[in-house]
């Protein structure tokens, strides 16, 4: 894949969008994620109210792909129920793994669907999935509590 197809305007725009790069004072969930190889390190914070993501934000460092991907995650999952967020997170991870290709199905991911081509760049996969993988771990704990 050409580097210009990687750093598209939309990726750069989301990378530079720091709206949700902030600390939440009393989060329900706080989960760390890091990539040992490149040193990316983020903390995702979520406020849950009646099973719905009332607020979600992140802090930390990462490359443009991981930061853009995190911003997209937050934009997509704010206001969703835990179950819905989990379903969309799995859909995103399946897209990056190349398991889901159907454009119609991926529309649900909104801006995050633009990261689909990362599936063709093995070395950047871990950048794209960092936030999603971190959230999946946190939400699984939350769902386990419910049961």
């Amino acid at each position: 894949m050409d580097v210009n197809q990687l750093y598209t305007d939309i990726i750069l725009e989301y990378n530079n969008d720091k709206t949700n790069k902030r600390e939440i004072s009393c989060p329900t969930i706080s989960e760390h994620g890091h990539n040992a190889n490149c040193g990316d390190d983020i903390k995702l914070q979520v406020v849950l109210k009646d099973g719905v993501i009332a607020d979600i934000a992140y802090t930390g460092n990462g490359c443009a792909i991981s930061q853009a991907s995190t911003a997209m995650l937050i934009e997509l999952l704010g206001g969703k129920t835990v179950e819905e967020a989990m379903r969309l997170t799995r859909l995103f991870l399946d897209m990056i793994l190349g398991k889901v290709n159907d454009e119609g199905q991926l529309e649900e991911l909104e801006a995050a669907a633009y990261l689909k081509n990362i599936a063709k760049m093995p070395v950047r996969v871990k950048c794209a999935v960092l936030a999603w993988h971190t959230l999946a771990i946190a939400l699984e704990k939350e769902l386990a509590k419910k049961k």
């Binding site: 750093y7 305007d9 750069l12 725009e13 490149c38 040193g39 990316d40 460092n61 950048c127």
Partner: protein, 409 residues
């Protein structure tokens, strides 16, 4: 030194990437192999391949001669007293693990001290953490000045009578500082400590004499000096090696094996269990001959020229920050740096798209990065086959990285 002729020896440097010959600036990670090394591997496998030290047929003998012969080349290269002091391993990491396990874990006890530096590669750090955890010894650090990258001399006082191990790199793989290890070695010896010197980043670029350094253990990797992967060296003073437990157990490292007891082989075989990497050993000997032919004075002078050009150019790019000293006179052939607001991974991706290979990440030195307060860095590391033209091309592309990431300045 004729750079054109030298480059002709390296087939991989002819690789076309982004419409021009690939620029390989990741020599701190691994180096490329010249034809004489590739040919030596081919020759060995075409004519001499057997299992050394086993059997009495022509190929077993030929393989033994190739293997043992390469060791004499290595001995001479680092000026060890005898080949009994030269042990082949897989790489620097395995050499350090051998020292930590076979010496550290058996010679240290609760209350002893291990002193290393915050700039160590994980191979020379995690190993000592483990020794400390297992024996109850205390692991302490010599820190660096964040601006100059130099060791804080007041921290040398941490080396005291309780200190049993002092381990550090001759050249840090991130800071790339020219450093005379002699005073630190002498200080450690004054307190009776054993010195483990990591030569992974020094041996490929400068002449090393282990007797003159007087370090107790010295370790390095073949693949960082034009040899193939999977061959590394542990030098140790004979008396220390004699007093150590074997590392791996199995074939070749034994003297006599009975059902319940075993006596072990003499040095260095005691530490070389299993069928060794003979072609790796052969490639290392060929690489040493190749480097000696060029000459280390020439290599150092050429790398100094490149690093000077690189640092001077990088200083002119306002948003590039050099890690540690930015004085070329103090630098070996490597520079770690960051670009303001652009993650190192993205810097590397953009340079790679322009056909330039640099390293990105924490370079297996996370404690150093945490100490310096940087998440990750980029690193350009040079070798004798790199050119001034390549450095100029790299600087040009580096100056365009921020714009490519959407910044207007």
């Amino acid at each position: 030194m004729n750079i054109e002729l030298i480059r002709n020896d390296f087939p991989i440097l002819k690789t076309i990437s982004a419409g021009r010959p690939l620029v390989y600036f990741d020599n701190g990670a691994t180096t490329q192999k010249p034809l004489p090394v590739l040919e030596a591997i081919y020759e060995y496998n075409s004519r001499q391949n057997g299992n050394p030290h086993r059997g009495s047929h022509v190929l077993a003998i030929a393989a033994s001669e190739a293997y043992d012969g390469s060791k004499e080349v290595v001995r001479k290269f680092i000026n060890a007293r005898s080949t009994r002091e030269v042990i082949y391993t897989r790489n620097t990491t395995e050499s350090l693990n051998l020292v930590a396990r076979s010496y550290g874990e058996t010679h240290l006890k609760k209350g002893d001290r291990i002193v290393i530096t915050v700039a160590e590669h994980h191979a020379n750090l995690v190993t000592w953490q483990r020794v400390a955890q297992k024996t109850g010894a205390v692991l302490d650090y010599i820190y660096i000045d964040k601006e100059t990258g130099k060791f804080k001399e007041e921290d040398f006082a941490k080396i005291d009578a309780k200190t049993k191990i002092v381990a550090f790199a001759q050249v840090s793989n991130v800071l790339g500082l020219v450093f005379d290890p002699k005073p630190l070695i002498n200080l450690a010896h004054q307190h009776g400590a054993v010195v483990v010197l990591d030569g992974a980043q020094s041996v490929p670029h400068q002449q090393v004499d282990v007797q003159e350094l007087d370090c107790d253990f010295f370790v390095f990797s073949g693949h960082k000096m034009c040899a193939s992967g999977g061959i590394g060296v542990l030098y140790g003073k004979e008396a220390l090696l004699e007093d150590m437990e074997p590392f791996n157990l199995g074939g070749d490292m034994i003297d006599r094996v009975e059902e319940q007891v075993t006596t072990f082989a003499e040095l260095p075989t005691k530490f070389e269990a299993g069928t060794p990497n003979v072609e790796g050993a052969v490639s290392l000997a060929a690489a040493i001959k190749y480097l000696n032919n060029i000459g280390f004075e020439e290599i150092e002078a050429h790398e100094k020229k490149l690093v000077t050009l690189a640092i001077e150019g990088m200083k002119k790019i306002p948003y590039v920050r050099i890690i540690g000293s930015d004085n070329p006179a103090e630098k070996t052939g490597l520079v770690a740096f960051t670009v303001d607001d652009v993650h190192p991974h993205d810097v590397s991706e953009l340079l790679s798209a322009a056909g330039i290979c640099i390293r990105t990440g924490h370079h297996c030195a996370q404690p150093l990065h945490i100490y310096l307060g940087v998440n990750a860095t980029c690193r350009a590391s040079f070798y004798f086959y790199n050119t001034e033209e390549e450095v100029a091309y790299f600087l040009d592309k580096l100056s365009k990285v921020r714009a490519a990431m959407g910044y207007k300045d």
